[in-house]
Structures are given as structure tokens and as C-alpha cells.
């Protein structure tokens, strides 16, 4: 069964995206060179706002309560004042009607006067200083008229005083009633306010909570979602570092840096995996190469042996022909070895525009012996004049070799493999390389899993389950996709899509 391959593939251990110390430093600075606005600070700020609002409302309530207490106390005093004035007037009437004692009336007036004096400021605030002064003068006038009334027995004189006395008395009473009523209205208004303010406070609190809650949760949730996307991306093998997207840094920035150091480690491990996989592929290929190498070696050996045995019997021309064969067969051996060595040599990953046709041809040549030994046929359908792709030569070969070796493993004798390369008709700027076989196919429930690391359907010791995962990692790094299409009994096609390089290939490769 086809599936995860295990034939390795690998690269020379240095992935193109491997970061150097300099870029680490750059990434680190990108994160740290921003103003700090930590989540802790945001939470503290929000709760401080709540607390400040509570303090404000509590202080206001305390002030309101003491104000109301003062007003109620004053109402009592005002009530007393009015009562004193009314008492005075009652005694005044009694005096006029029945000729009773006027001293009681005077006494009550004196009390009222002293009350007005002590509460003058408060009354002034309620009814206005002018009115208070007017009232004080009325009270004074009334008082002096009353005294005058008490000190004279002259009837005419009394008759002249009484109407003025009554007028002043009525004014004082109505004035006192006015400010008592005004103060009652005040107290009512304040009580109403004290009832309403809690509701206003609740409304403001709700608003503040909604605003602060939205702000906090937005900054938390959006960032969390961003990190969820990162983990998904990393899980799919994209190990490119996270870059800052906000203008300030917080605890998430530290998390992002931790992610970046994790992906650096993952990249390093991936490189090791790619390398070890390539070694495995080389191991497989070596068997085929050894086989293939024996042909030119045998030709050389036979030619040289015959030349030695028959030296005297051969003509000059025959000798020359045999020596030419020895030379050409040695060159053939050299080509075989060189192709494998090119693939096996450890070298720095070098990203450059590559002629995909050549890469595919050389990969096909690498597995040619495996294909022959398994008694399979391999056909190539390569479109002419394909644009170049950007990538590392060894890594791309590793992917193609891996896919072809998988097909070799999957096919019974007489099976056939077709390797094709053409422009992608569905996606602009992409090339597709297909490795198609007419083997048993991959059951649908395995198709999702074959790219998972360590998933293999090959027998124990035959597959590591890393081939396809490593291949997918390599193709992802080059900005491409590796997909599978398969139906049981209908064969399997692995599709590699690669972006064509944006640079004019002549300049880049030249």
C-alpha cells in the first residue's frame, strides 16, 4: 500500500527558513521595542475605574445624607420659629380683645428674634438674604409696635397702631410659611434625587462594565484567536516566526516569543528529520546504484580481461575499440556515482530558481534502478519550457524521489508510474508535478492520515512513517502544496504544486 513513505527524503539539514542569530535578534527586538500595556495593567485600570466610580457615588450619598439631616433639623427650627410668631400673635389678639397680659406675646417674639438671628444665614440661603433682612426688620417693627401698644393707654393712639401691627404680624407669618414651604420643597427634591441617583449609578456602572468588558475581552479573545491560528499554522508545518501586529506589548508578546523559540526548535528538529530521512532514501537508492554500477564495471572487467588474454591476437583497431569501451564504461560508472553523490552530498540549503524539468529527470534517474528491480515501468510527461521554481535542489529531489519510491513500494510487478510536470491550469503562477501510479490505491480513511508523522501502512521495520510528512514540510516551506488523490483499485496520484519564481530566471540562474 502506498502511503506514507518512508523513503526518505531529506535535505541537507539546513532548511531555507532556518534563522540565524541575527534574525532571532531582530524578531526579539520587534517584540520588545514597543510600549508596554500589559493585560495586568488593563485589568487594574478597569477595576480602578469601577472603584473610583463607587467612591464618587458613596461620597455623594454621605454628603446628601448629612445635607438632608441638616435641612430636616432646620425645618424643625423653622417650625419652632413659626410657632413662636403665631403664639405671639395669639397673645396679641387676646390682649386686644380681652385686655390680657402682653408680656407673653413679647416673650415669644424675643425667642423668635433670637432664632432668626442664629438661623439667619441658613434662612438667607433658602429665601435670600434680602428677604431675611426685610423679615428681620418686619419682626423688629412688629416688636417695637407691640411694645408701644403695651406702654400706651391712649385709645386713639392704639387704634392707629393696631392695623399696622396686624399687617406686620401677617407678613411675618406668611414669610415664615413661605420659607418653611420652600425648604420642604427642597427636602422633597433632594430626597427624590437621592432615590434616583442609585439608578443612574447602576446605569453608569453597567455602561462602564460593558465598555471595559468589551475592551478587555476583545483584546484577550482576538489575541487568543490569533494564537489559535498560529498553532494551527505551526501544526501544518509552517514554522515562519510570529511578527508583532499590535502597537504595544503585553503578556501575549512573551507568549509569541516563546512560540518563536519553539518554532525555531521545531525547525531545527525538522531539519534533522529531513536529513535522517534523506539518509534512508540514500540507503534505498544505494542498492539500486550498486546494481546499476555492476553493469559498466562488468563491461570494463570483461573488456580488460579479454584484452589481456588476447593481446597478441588483436589488431591495433580491435585493441583501440576495446580500450574505447573501457573508457566509455568508466565514464558511465562515473555518471551513475555522480548522480547519487549530487543527491547525497551534504551542503547548505541554497534557495535558487531551478529548472523543474531537470530536477524531475534527475530524480527519475535516481530511482530508475528501484523501478527496474521492482519490474515496473516509469514514464515522464514533462511540458516544454516550464518556468523556473524557487527552491533547494536537493530538497525538491528528495520529495520527488520519496514519492516515486512510495509508488515503487505500492505497485505489484508490471505496474506503471507516470511522472508529469506542467503549468497548473487551476491556479495561476503555480506548477504541478504529479506522481501517478496504477496501484491498489489508498483507502479513503487513510488518506487524511498519511501526512501525519509516524503514520505508516508499511510493515514493521519497512517504513518510518516520516516520508510524506517530511515531504509536505519541504513543499510547505517552498510555498507549495502536497496533496493526494486516490481511489481504491484506481491508483494513486500525489500532486505537488509549486509557485513559479517571480524573478526572471535568466538573471537569477545566470
Amino acid at each position: 500500500m502506498h502511503d506514507k513513505t518512508d523513503n526518505p527524503t531529506t535535505t541537507d539539514g539546513h532548511s531555507p527558513s532556518q534563522e540565524t542569530g541575527d534574525t532571532d535578534e531582530l524578531e526579539h527586538r520587534a517584540f520588545t521595542e514597543r510600549p508596554t500595556l500589559s493585560i495586568r495593567a488593563k485589568v487594574i485600570l478597569s477595576f480602578s475605574l469601577f472603584f473610583a466610580l463607587c467612591i464618587a457615588v458613596t461620597s455623594w450619598s454621605i454628603w446628601m445624607a448629612s445635607d438632608l439631616t441638616a435641612r430636616i433639623d432646620f425645618l424643625e427650627v423653622a417650625g419652632d420659629f413659626m410657632m413662636e410668631v403665631q403664639q405671639a400673635r395669639r397673645y396679641e389678639k387676646n390682649f386686644l380683645l380681652y385686655g390680657t397680659n402682653l408680656d407673653d406675646a413679647l416673650h415669644h417674639l424675643e425667642v423668635a428674634e433670637s432664632q432668626l438671628k442664629s438661623q439667619g444665614n441658613t434662612i438667607g440661603k433658602i429665601v435670600g438674604t434680602e428677604h431675611t433682612d426685610t423679615m428681620a426688620s418686619y419682626l423688629n417693627d412688629y416688636h417695637s409696635r407691640l411694645r408701644e401698644l403695651g406702654s400706651t393707654d391712649d385709645t386713639t393712639r392704639r387704634q392707629a397702631i393696631v392695623p399696622i401691627l396686624r399687617r406686620d404680624g401677617a407678613k411675618i407669618v406668611s414669610f415664615a410659611e413661605d420659607f418653611v414651604n420652600a425648604e420642604r420643597a427642597n427636602v422633597k427634591r433632594h430626597l427624590l434625587l437621592a432615590q434616583r441617583v442609585p439608578f443612574l449609578f447602576l446605569g453608569a456602572l453597567l455602561l462602564l462594565m460593558v465598555v471595559a468588558g468589551t475592551w478587555l475581552s476583545q483584546s484577550l479573545l482576538l489575541t487568543l484567536m490569533r494564537f489559535m491560528a498560529y498553532t494551527k499554522r505551526i501544526g501544518e508545518g509552517d514554522f515562519s516566526p510570529i511578527t508583532p501586529v499590535r502597537k504595544f506589548k503585553d503578556e501575549f508578546s512573551q507568549l509569541a516569543e516563546a512560540f518563536n523559540s519553539m518554532t525555531r526548535e521545531l525547525t531545527r528538529r525538522h531539519d534533522i528529520l529531513v536529513e535522517s530521512h534523506k539518509l534512508r532514501a540514500i540507503g534505498t537508492l544505494v542498492a539500486g546504484v550498486a546494481h546499476e554500477l555492476n553493469n559498466p564495471l562488468n563491461n570494463t572487467m570483461l573488456s580488460a580481461s579479454v584484452l589481456k588474454e588476447e593481446w597478441d591476437d588483436f589488431s591495433e583497431d580491435e585493441k583501440m575499440e576495446i580500450i574505447d569501451d573501457v573508457i566509455s564504461e568508466t565514464e558511465r560508472s562515473q555518471r551513475i556515482v555522480r548522480n547519487l553523490l549530487d543527491f547525497a552530498r551534504e551542503s547548505e540549503a541554497k534557495m535558487q530558481p531551478l529548472d523543474l524539468e531537470r530536477i524531475v529527470q534527475e530524480s527519475v534517474r535516481l530511482v530508475a534502478n528501484q523501478v527496474r528491480m521492482a519490474r515496473l515501468t516509469l514514464r515522464t510527461e514533462l511540458e516544454d519550457n516550464l518556468p523556473h521554481v524557487h527552491g533547494d535542489e536537493q530538497m525538491l529531489k528528495q520529495v520527488f524521489v520519496n514519492l516515486m519510491l512510495n509508488a515503487v513500494d505500492a505497485l505489484p510487478p508490471r505496474g506503471s508510474i507516470t511522472v508529469s510536470a506542467r503549468m497548473d491550469s487551476k491556479k495561476d503562477g503555480f506548477l504541478v508535478v504529479k506522481v501517478q501510479d496504477d496501484g491498489p490505491g489508498i483507502p479513503e480513511h487513510f488518506q487524511q492520515r498519511i501526512f501525519e508523522p509516524f503514520f505508516t501502512t508499511k510493515g514493521k521495520g519497512k517504513g518510518t512513517g516520516l516520508g510524506l510528512s517530511v515531504s509536505q514540510g519541504i513543499i510547505h516551506k517552498l510555498g507549495g502544496f502536497l496533496k493526494v488523490e486516490s481511489e481504491e483499485g484506481e491508483g494513486t496520484t500525489f500532486i505537488v504544486s509549486l509557485p513559479v519564481t517571480d524573478f526572471p530566471s535568466d538573471i537569477m540562474s545566470g
Binding site: H291, N298, N299, E309, E310, E329, R372
Partner: protein, 126 residues
Amino acid sequence: MNPKDLRIMIIDDERIVGKRLKPAIEKTGSTVEIFTDGETALNRFQEQPFDIVVTDIRMDEMDGIEVLERVLALSPRTKVIIITGYATVEVAREALSKGAFDFIAKPFKPGDLRVIINRAGRELES
């Protein structure tokens, strides 16, 4: 006993193998015909059987094992010698179990093959 007058067929898709082996084997007095594919060789074999068939095991169209089976089907007394490019126990076991006389691994010298042919010739005569 010298394996004189043996009719020997050599099949190898490497052209040089036949070209060099033909004169080297004919030195012993045998007749050698060389082929580069199994189909042509078998057609020739059907016209006129050979005493010894030397065939490479790995060839594109018809491989050495098939040649072995069809030759033995046509002529059970014929000795079939298998040339392998990459000697493994499995290949040797398969060849021998299917009736091959012997096998020789590349690269070899003409003398190595002559020794096996001589041995086959003696067995044919006995």
C-alpha cells in the same frame, strides 16, 4: 573432458557483454550466439535448441527468470547459467529453485564463466 562443440547462447541487454564473451568462450571450441533480448533469443532457441544458455537476470522486456522457465520448458536438458548484477541470496535461491544450473555475479572475468561452462559441459556429457 573438453566441452567441445557445445552450442551456447548468451543473452544480456548490455551489448558489450556478448561482444567480449563470444570470442572468449569460442576459444574452447564451442559455438556461441549472442542476443540482447529474451524474445529474440527464445525464437532462435525454438528453431534450434542450445546446450547452454547464459542469461542476465535483469532485462527490460523479458527477464532472466522467464527465459530460464521457458528454456527449461522447451528443453529440460539445457543448462541455464544466470548472470546477476547484484547477487543476493534471494535471487540465487529463486534461480536455483527454478532449475538454473548455476549463477555468476557481475562483474566477472571470462575465465570465471568458462569454468562454469566447462562444468556444465561435463554434466551434459555424463
